[in-house]
């Protein structure tokens, strides 16, 4: 066990964990965050996605020791039910979920991509979503929600 300090959703947390522990287990088991989820543990589905310094990272294969002092944002920290982030609001407006298990990957990956590539075409957005799974197949609404957010970042 080593003492690790993590900057998550704007707050600094000190946890004692083995350094090879995947970031995901620290976020869920130690910090009790609900956003990132264990889907595959293999970097194949996206359910565990968090933003590290603004970029999407699959926390299931990221050792906590690799994060260092970087800024971690999880779906929990993006917005609140009262004041959702615009991309969260877009998902509400389009009713873009069924069970909701996959949302961290879809929302955070799309947000990060569009924030960095506001002029991206639909095809480019699609490529950015490769390797994200939703097994309730809410794809149609999710894509519409992402397009709605894309319009916002452009204007």
């Amino acid at each position: 066990m080593t003492a690790v300090s993590l900057k998550v959703n704007g707050a600094v947390h000190a946890v004692a964990v083995a350094p090879e522990t995947p970031l995901l287990y620290v976020l869920t088991d130690e910090l009790h965050l609900r956003g990132p989820k264990f889907g595959c543990g293999l970097a194949q589905c996206g359910a565990c996605t968090v933003l590290i310094d603004g970029g999407p990272v699959r926390s299931c294969i990221t050792p906590v020791s690799a994060v260092k002092s970087a800024e971690i944002i999880t779906l929990d920290g993006l917005g609140t039910p009262e004041k959702p982030h615009p991309i969260q609001q877009a998902f509400i407006d389009e009713q873009a979920a069924q069970c909701g298990f996959c949302l961290s990957g879809v929302i955070l990956t799309a947000k990060s991509f569009l924030d960095r590539n506001p002029r991206a075409s639909d095809d480019e957005i699609r490529s950015a979503l490769a390797g994200l799974l939703c097994r309730c197949f809410a794809h149609a609404r999710m894509f519409k929600a992402i397009q709605r957010y894309a319009k916002m970042v452009r204007s």
Partner: protein, 768 residues
Amino acid sequence: MKAGLSRRDFLMGSGALVVSFSMTPILDPWALAQGPFDTHRSHIDPEKLDSWIAIGSDGAVTGRTGKCDFGQGMYTAQTQLIAEELCVSLDRVRLVQCDTSITPDQGTTSGSQSTPTNFNNHGLAQAAATAREALINLAAQRMAVSPKVLTAAGGFVNAADGRSVSYGQLVSGKNLNLAVDPNAKRKAAANWSVLGKPVPSLDIRDLVTARFDFVHNVHLAGMLHGRMVRPPEIGAKVLSIDEKSVRRVGGIIKVVLRQNLVGVVAEKQMQAVQAAAQLKVVWSSGSDLPPQGDFYQHIRKQPSQDTLIVDSQDVDQKFSRAATVLKSTYAYPYQAHGSVGASCAVADVRGDKATLWSATQSVYPTRQIVAAVLGLQLENVRVIYMRGSGCYGLNGADTVSLDAAFLSHAVQRPVRIQLSREDEMAWGENYGAASVIDQRAALDRQGEIIAWECEPWAVSLGGRPGYDTPGNVISGALAGYEPHRITPRKASAPTGSLKNGSNAVPSYAAGSVGGTCYGTGTIRSERVLTHAVRSPFFTGPLRSPLRLQNTFAHECFMDELAAHAKADPVAYRLRHLREPRLMDVVKAVAKAAQWEVRPSPKANWDRKSTALGRGLACVAYEGDNGYVATVAEVEVDASSGRVRATRFVIAQDCGPISNPAGMRNQIEGGVLQGMSRCLGEEITWDARKITSTDWTSYHSLDLAIEVPEIECVLINRTDVLATGAGETAITVVAAAIGNAIFDATGTRLRQVPFTEERVKTAISNHSG
């Protein structure tokens, strides 16, 4: 509900509120594997109104339901139902779902039975209607007027003279102490203001902001983490375990062994993962699996449990006199639920008590199973439903619930079990069944169908555990419990009424049993003989179980017949149907899709450019539990074999619609899941084990696909009973895509999935 005998009728007999579930007389192993979904007597008496509805002193309404939401929208729809019947706004309703300490026993949430069970004239709907009448009666007493002059609105009962009293004042937080009144009047659909409206999902805000608690988010004080160690091969048994092999991993609490069920429990999740990887277990070698390459041949040769569903006894004679006889065989693979989240459960077993937080769709059956396998008193076991990753059948939720119960029992502390991805896909869930289906039809000189014969073989092993079969899921079987097995048996002549719950009888057949036609079609010479065969892998009710497989075969074969007769596929279908609701969805979808009237295939494809086509398929789900038709439009690239569906139009009639927004979401999801299953999904195995164990070996469509346009035509019929709507659309997708590929290319695909390789080969063979 006139046509046929559905799963619901089959298991519960219609109308009765409480019917016990009997194991013996069930003929269809698939009906059994679905589990019971009716309302049962338990310590929470379903005949008492207080079991369902409570009115707080502030007038807020609490509903208690035995049907849960796992993403299909039941939470919102049931909240609407209560708000509607009790005349309050949605925010005045709190819904408690599936907790064996609080809610009535409604068996399993499955089989498109939640709407029929809770939205017609029993279950939650009847309780809510009783509660409204009870409040009006209480107000009538208090005001000394006739209940006839009173109306309920906005949480008040109002009199014509202007007096009014709130629900809270009437009940003041006490029990209502009444029986559910089977004669209480539901509000007429014409007067609905909340139900039947497109209410947005009530939980989506919490979902997108990560405030929603899944079972994966349960944390208890002193909770430990466990992982399972599954056999390396199917059928392998534990010979020995070297507990010392994990000594170097820190935080290990215990290595748990129960027959062939092996798990490790540790302080931290990471330690459990490491220990599971390092634990040395000597396993016996597994059993040989039938080669996948000729599996469809293999299952035909197995001993089978046979059922004659219809037999007009004149089929052979008709075939001998037919102008044309057409035959085809269709094949459908094992497929995975493949939930995005690997399953998780938390159990707290201490002394003689157990509490389980579980994503099982069957809290009461699971409670009974857990009590039995741990040797606890039933009343000391509580199972609390919490949502897992969207499921649509029987993913690893039930298996991991037993895993958690066993491991917590062994350490007498709360334990959270998270399955690995491989555990989930190879040792967690019960797969959708493989099936091979022979079709034969006789046509007269005009090309009209005069006889239809169908013979499906479908595999089966285990299923939902129900109240007494823990061995129906993998962890139960590993722990030494027997799964329900197929008993080989010859078929006897069909009796009673039509049992078409698996859609083994095509929609175009008359479905005649004992001289009465129960089916939806006109063909009177008919024979359907089903064979249930023991599966080497556990199977379960993956969304539209066998209904999808059979419908794929029927609807593609119908298209073959229409093509042979050079008839337009819509007109040809309508000529052989007689059920107006099914005909109406076919007509509605053709109209909405601007269906071009002509036979398939399309003429003049140059074999080089991308081929474009359209295909139609329809079904009366389970014979009478929802009517759907879809038109698929596809592009086929012959050189790569790549198929892309560009548009789906769906017309659906599920009776009175509870929530059109929720229904659209279900249709869209069903269509895309159907497309993914049709184009790429297939369980694979080698000589001894499953080889599709992750997302590189099991092929799901990801978020990068170009999503087809999906248009829904919802037919809202308020003069009939409500049926299920979660499994209808998916049932027709593979057939519609297959028919569209045929329309585009003239090539008929008879085996799912339509992989690029398979499509390319089929098209080039067809040209040769």
